[in-house]
Amino acid sequence: MKEFELFFGPNHPGMHGNFSVHLRVDGDTVVKAKPVPGFLHRGFEKLMERRLWIQNLALIPRICVPEPDINEMVYAMAVEKIAGIEVPEKAHWIRTLILELGRIAAHLFSIGGIGGATGLYTFPYWATADRDSVLDIFEHISGARIYHMYIIIGGVRKDLPEGIDSLIRETMDYLESRIPEYIDLVMKNRIIQTRLRGKLVLTREMCEEMCITGVGLRATGVDYDIRKYDPYAAYEWVDFDIPVGEDGDAFTRGYLKLLEIQQSIRIIRQVLDKMPKKGPVNVKLPGNALKWRIPPGEAYAHVESSRGEYGYYVVSTGETTPYRVHVRGASYPQGLYGIEKYLPGTRIEDVPLWLGTMDVCPPEIDR
């Protein structure tokens, strides 16, 4: 049989953003797969070197649309490490709240995407609408729905607004009530069972080989989660479990995300209960923001993003701009090596599921 070449993306409903995978197929079977980044390239890392420490706040969240806050967080954490800045307690709690809200929003978006790739369209509609309820909270806290620009060097930009507590609690109650519905509609659904169970299996060895973290790794039975292994923000002060699976397949990865949403809800409720009502939310660097200088030094900071280990390596030479920032994208391994190595042998319809359940995020590759 004759082989065909297929361009999957950059414009394809199953594609995650501006990215392309060039496939050679024999019938339905993928024979060769080549990731093709470069459609998005804005040179984030280079741009950061030209911008003041404060100005980067407008740039970094753009490295991840579904979960922008992790960028703000690792940037702030790395700089705080270099400069030896102690963040006030309240800011730790607020940061935790923001990061967990971000995780819920990102997970909803991501698992909703599975519906798009499988023809189960009720799912993305539900997930997107439910994600919007989280964006409402972000809008109240930060003044924007997507690019929050809220976690800053030294803490957070503003204190939480009055009355936000009840909005968050109501939303959490609502989202919690939705999880059984998602399970009924999606996870138990015949299509999902057929298309995801036992498909696109990542073994523990494969994860180790490629440095895959997040649900990908946890779906193979490893309970690695940076929130527990190298706690930051307020994670040490709250109780939560790390859901793990063992099949390593696309289904387990999707299901774990739903279970993680439950844990995030649990964390958020604890944050609201335990967070100090008063106290500063940031420490200021001396001088005005146009003249902020970070002492010379370098640091790596990482967090558990919805897609796994996410980190920035920041180098400062004592100037008003970073000397170098390197972004460790969580989906970089599976989005680049994983595609090339492990897609061959799967079927065409599995390709969007690879991208979807592993959250291949183009800006993490094209940075």
């Binding site: 404060i54 100005q55 690019y147 957070v156 607004p161 059984p180 063992e246 299901y255 001396p286 005005n288």
Partner: protein, 611 residues
């Protein structure tokens, strides 16, 4: 533990559960029929209060997307500290980060909750926000700056000073100066908007030298200072610092300590390095000579710039030491001799000749000078005191501030004996000179009698007093009493002995036009005891050095000489600068001297300085 994720059992009825969604409230809304109100912190389109905005451009400076351009509006009036620029925003670039709002120096810029703009015309996305907003429809305010999000540093780095109890016992310099760390921290508060420059009579390169402090490049900083000011040690201490009133940071916080930063540069660079750093040497010998009368700031400044232009410059000074009021008026606790010496030594090292103890009009005539020099710069200052002329003012214990200040400084230098002050003194006047003499007398009293008894009476109310607020505060801290809104009616003399001052209530100092025109309530009176009274109500010029035939050719405006912009009087070879032309302070005198130097140069090279 079995980690295989199992699902809950599927119920037989689960397909029927879908029916409940038929009655659920939809989460979507109908646009545009339904308008969705944005949250109270929403980062929507900008509004800018044009009356508050000063055109500093800091918003444009911080904008990470280069979305802001400053646009000039000719209809907006300008004044020192206020530009007629307003920010224009390109919504094709704006990322709605609100950094501009958080940094705005006046707080004029805010965001609203308006978020929809649809147009086929790309130009409509370029917009100059005013109070009305992008569509002239009122929307509630959205994102605003608060204390947490503020991107300015509003608090000045505190200047170390000697505490009142300690400083009043001696004439030791009260302000200690910034350390390197303190100076850099203070410099990092400046947003480099340049608004202060227009308020400085000499248009000093303020943001430039502050920037150099921040970069710890003091050599370059010193070069910036000397572009417009050859007396940085002096000005770094006692300048009237009008620039700070104009500083944009002052709208919401304490203005940048521009004066102390200038002092930091001058204090930090040793005199030995000045020549190497400034590379100041005459361009080429001009072959002409200029005589300068008076070695106050105006004369010194003129001499400095003239010598650099290649002229042969000689300063004639009546006193035994150069510096004018800086040497003989301003008290030592504000301006010690050694720093003044440093500024003057550099000027002298460039080749300026000083002829001391030579009073023009007495020791040498003006026409003799004219024969020696091709041009003359007159910078004789206001050296005579003014009297209240009320009954009793001719009593020997009624003194003038200026001569007494001079005696005190001479005594402190070891040039003269300690001047006698009594233990109960009244000072008449509410300006800085009154504060200077009151605080100087307080120090002498403390040394002599162990306690302070100085009472200052002035016509103005506390708010109207022309003295600097700091001066008044510091005087009060040192034990000086202030009696505002009282004018002298008479000085009480009994048996030839001064007993006190009778005061009458002043109910208004300035008339509707803002002119000095005091009105008194003669019936409301009070008496202050005093065994010594010092009048400090202003100074006057002494033109006795000018022969009649010259005086007749000159034009006067009140006590001041009329010159052109470059200090040239109606006698072409005679230039004038400083208090006799403008006043009222050192930095004006310096600028005057600089201009007069340019005027002389133009005159001697046959050109026209106004061109």
């Amino acid at each position: 533990m079995n980690k295989r994720l199992e699902l809950p059992k599927k119920s037989f009825w689960s397909p029927a559960s879908a029916l409940k969604y038929l009655v659920k409230k939809p989460v979507t809304i109908r646009v545009p029929k339904t308008y969705r109100e944005a949250s109270p912190r929403y980062r929507g389109f900008h509004v800018n209060d044009w009356d508050k905005c000063v055109g500093c451009g800091t918003c444009a400076e911080v904008c990470p997307t280069d979305a802001i351009h400053m646009v000039e509006f000719e209809e907006i009036p300008t004044e020192p500290g206020k530009r007629n620029w307003r920010p224009a925003i390109d919504y094709g670039r704006c990322s709605f980060c609100a950094l501009c709002v958080d940094v705005c120096t006046t707080g004029s810029l805010q965001m609203t909750r308006e978020y929809i703009h649809i147009s086929r015309d790309p130009n409509t996305f370029f917009f100059v926000p005013n109070e009305k907003g992008i569509h002239s429809v009122e929307y509630p305010v959205g994102y605003e700056r608060d204390e947490d999000s503020d991107l300015l540093d509003l608090d000045r780095v505190e200047m170390p000073v000697i505490e009142p109890q300690e400083r009043v016992t001696s004439f030791i310099e009260m302000v200690r100066g910034y350390s390197k760390e303190q100076a850099i921290a203070e410099a990092s508060r400046c947003v480099e908007c340049e608004l202060c420059r227009s308020a400085c009579p000499a248009q000093m390169h303020i943001p430039q030298y502050i920037h150099q402090i921040w970069k710890d490049n003091l050599d370059e900083g010193l070069r910036y200072l000397y572009k417009t000011n050859p007396l940085p040690e002096v000005c770094g201490r006692v300048c009237t610092h009008k620039c700070e009133t104009a500083c944009s940071i002052g709208h919401r916080g304490e203005p940048v300590a521009i004066r102390w930063l200038k002092r930091y540069i001058a204090d930090s660079v040793p005199l030995e390095r000045y020549h190497e750093i400034l590379d100041a040497k005459p361009v080429k010998p001009a072959g002409k000579s200029v005589g300068v009368i008076g070695s106050g700031p105006a004369g010194l400044s003129a001499a400095y710039y003239l010598v650099l232009m290649g002229y042969d410059v000689t300063i004639y000074e009546a006193k035994s030491r150069p510096g004018g009021v800086m040497r003989y008026g301003i008290p030592r606790y504000r301006l010690p001799d050694d720093v003044l010496d440093k500024d003057i030594a550099f000027i002298e090292s460039l080749g300026v000749r000083f002829v001391m103890n030579t009073k023009v009009g007495v020791d040498i005539t003006l026409s003799e000078l004219k024969q020696r020099h091709d041009a003359i710069v007159l910078a004789v200052g206001f050296t005579k005191g003014r009297s209240t002329k009320v009954p009793g003012s001719d009593h020997p214990m009624v003194l003038q501030a200026l001569p007494l200040l001079e005696k005190i400084r001479d005594y402190l230098r070891g040039d003269a004996p300690k001047p006698a002050v009594t233990d109960d003194v009244v000072v008449i006047g509410g300006g800085n000179v009154a504060m200077d003499i009151a605080r100087s007398v307080a120090r002498l009293q403390k040394q002599e009698y162990g306690k302070v008894s100085v009472k200052v009476a002035c016509l103005e109310s506390e708010k109207e007093m022309p003295a600097d607020k700091e001066e008044i505060e510091e005087a009060l801290e040192e034990g000086v009493e202030i009696h505002p809104t009282w004018g002298p009616r008479q000085f009480l003399v009994e048996n030839g002995e001064l007993k006190g001052v009778e005061l009458k209530r002043c109910i208004r100092v300035f008339d509707e036009k803002g002119k000095f025109n005091p009105i008194y309530n003669e019936n409301e009176r009070k008496t202050l005891t005093a065994s010594m009274v010092i009048e400090a109500i202003g100074q006057a010029p002494d033109y006795s050095l000018l022969p009649d035939e010259i005086c007749q050719k000159l034009d006067f405006v009140g006590a001041r000489l009329l010159t052109d912009e470059y200090g040239q009087t109606s006698i072409p070879w005679l230039f004038a600068a400083g208090d006799i032309v403008h006043g009222p302070d050192i930095i004006h005198a310096i600028e005057d001297g600089h201009r007069a130097a340019k005027g002389v140069d133009t005159f001697l090279t046959g050109g026209n300085a106004n061109e």
